[in-house]
Subunit: 297 residues, 2 copies
């Protein structure tokens, strides 16, 4: 499905953010076991969809994607911390993540919790130190403010709490959307808006991009739910059907499988429409949207 | 021991920071159980020594202590998050904190972990939103940068990992100091330097204040170790002798009780000397130093 254009862009900038994260963590003056645990999860692979959204947004504004490397590293660190904490025995109790043992299975719960804490803290450190030729003090502060909103109690953490509260309950579609908009959506929206912020986008364009990212966020989650039913262990790196087993409300459980697929299509179309309305050079963002709609892992 | 001057200052500004924290968390648009869990630990009391250091530093520069209320709230949130995570079963496994059940005993481990995560994230949000008449964009960014350094892998979290690694081992005095300088010291130093930053202190004064805070940080920890041996349950809010039971290296175990007391005095003297060298109006900071040296809880 992935085009050559997106494939080579993706490869280039995945490498950029992965090398940047390794460089930053390796240079920390901190206990070796902590750095090792942080790197273990940062290097566990994955699609790096959030960094790619940021890089592709910069590209859409005609800016060099490289300008986003520190913000991309910060975003991926926040995402990684959230996975480490979500996998803990008291949360989802997952032993595997992308086919590898989860952080706490390798380093123990205490170190895993602290590695997550350190990654979250480090993300703000990175934003505070973006070189001045990329972002001035006001842009950096906005990036800090937006990240803390997207990742905190009113965003990702709040979504995770609602997700836990919803387990074993029959949620309405509205409740399910609230969870996903916060748990996964806010960080996807941040990835796009952080690019727009660095590119000094106007308010109207930001609103349109925010709408675009909102829809791909929901599409991403619906696809995830569908994969949990239709994917293979190899594709999704965890047991198939684990949502059903954990009594989680999902889009297919609320809308039926075909209803969920229709809803997925609807969000993909809405995302593309919002994107197109910006008038930006959005080829790559469009292709990422297709990838989210059709991804198999 | 506490003078009337410090007593009334302390009472006034404890109330200020406590009300500010309650106001901020109450206004969050987040799941009620998350807000409740965050507030439970924020309101568990304590001396609020870090906020008081910040307020007293502002006072020493002739600035209104009120100017520090958001930074004070941010500092206390970081401190509180660290206590919630430290108390978890996989870490210190404490059931009581200041005589009350710990966060995870009341809300469960998952919510406790997430409340900690949310408090840490919120602290950066607060710093990013300090009113412009108190701090300009550059000062706010410096406060974000310094906090992320003090609280992260190279600071508090790193110290906590070293502390865990050191359990059951015979540490050298140097190793013990490394742990405490990071685990508790860095956030105490931050509290003082954040005040200096808001007051636009010059580099030389900041260096002197940093030295001052370094010594009170170590004094604070030595006093903690002594209290663990000599205090009562009522005074310290946890079982007496728990360090010995947990096979932790402490100042008394390395230096003997009287040696630890001498070391405490030495740090108190060094702190006062550094403070006096700043030429600031440091009556309150001096009294806080005495309080740290002689505190009974």
């Amino acid at each position: 499905m992935q085009t050559d254009r997106l494939g080579s862009f993706s490869k280039q900038y995945k490498t950029l953010v992965e090398e940047r994260m390794r460089e930053i963590v390796s240079q920390l003056e901190a206990p070796e076991i902590l750095k090792e645990s942080m790197l273990y999860s940062l290097e566990a692979g994955g699609k790096r969809i959030r960094p790619l959204l940021l890089f592709a947004t910069l590209k859409a504004f005609g800016r060099a994607p490289e300008a986003g490397k520190d913000v991309a590293a910060a975003i991926e660190m926040v995402h990684t911390y959230s996975l480490i904490h979500d996998d803990l025995p008291s949360m989802d109790d997952d032993d595997l993540r992308r086919g590898k043992p989860t952080n706490h299975k390798v380093y123990g719960e205490a170190t895993a919790i602290l590695a997550g804490d350190a990654l979250l803290t480090l993300s703000f450190n990175l934003l505070s130190q973006i070189p001045a030729d990329i972002a001035d003090a006001n842009v950096k502060l906005t990036l800090v403010n937006m990240l803390s909103n997207a990742a905190g109690a009113e965003g990702m953490v709040g979504g995770q709490v609602s997700d836990m509260e919803g387990e074993g309950k029959n949620l309405s579609l509205e409740e399910l959307e609230y969870i996903h908009i916060n748990k996964t959506g806010r960080m996807l929206v941040y990835s796009v808006l952080a690019g727009a912020e660095i590119a000094n986008a106007d308010a109207e364009t930001k609103t349109k991009l925010s709408k675009f990212a909102h829809h791909i966020g929901l599409a991403f989650q619906i696809r995830d739910d569908i994969l949990d039913l239709e994917g293979t262990v190899d594709q999704i790196g965890k047991p198939v059907g684990s949502d059903t087993e954990n009594e989680k409300s999902t889009y297919p459980s609320l809308l039926s499988l075909s209803g969920a697929k229709q809803e997925l299509d609807r969000h993909i179309r809405a995302a593309k429409q919002a994107l197109s309305s910006t008038g930006l050079d959005s080829i790559l963002l469009n292709e990422i949207t297709d990838l989210i709609g059709l991804r198999t892992s």
